[in-house]
Symmetry: C2
Subunit: 84 residues, 2 copies
């Protein structure tokens, strides 16, 4: 069994209205020191071992479904766990 | 300047309908090996240095705005960066 963590973030030059809204909210809570906020997604997947390469599977899933690669970047961490 | 990464995840025993939907979508793309999907948020904040303790600021912001601590857990990483 693998535990896979996938981080999907908006590309640098893509506007992030949700981040701007959170930044505005933090400013109105008087956290003026906040300069910038970017919001992304964090996914944790449990994947069963099989004969395909786990990295290939994860990259495939990201490209096809988990990230929109036109406007988003992704990175992932794979960790092997012992099923309980 | 600090770069702060905040990860907000649903608590273990809270249902995650978005995760279930993504799991269903992955299955229908024939990734049957996916056992479980949990979806959270990932935030990257740039925060200016001031005389308050950065950890205290981040914890405060998480408790007040960034996470709903009734159903969500959060964790964060703080990294000091040199402003360009």
């Amino acid at each position: 069994m693998y535990k896979v963590k996938v981080y999907v973030t908006l590309r640098e030059n893509v506007l992030d209205p949700q981040g701007s809204a959170v930044k505005g909210a933090l400013h109105s809570l008087s956290y003026q020191e906040v300069q910038d906020v970017r919001i992304g997604k964090f996914m944790e997947l449990m994947i069963e071992k099989n004969d395909r390469d786990i990295e290939e599977i994860v990259r495939d899933m990201c490209e096809k479904l988990l990230a929109n690669t036109v406007i988003e970047d992704y990175r992932y961490e794979i960790e092997e766990v012992v099923a309980q």
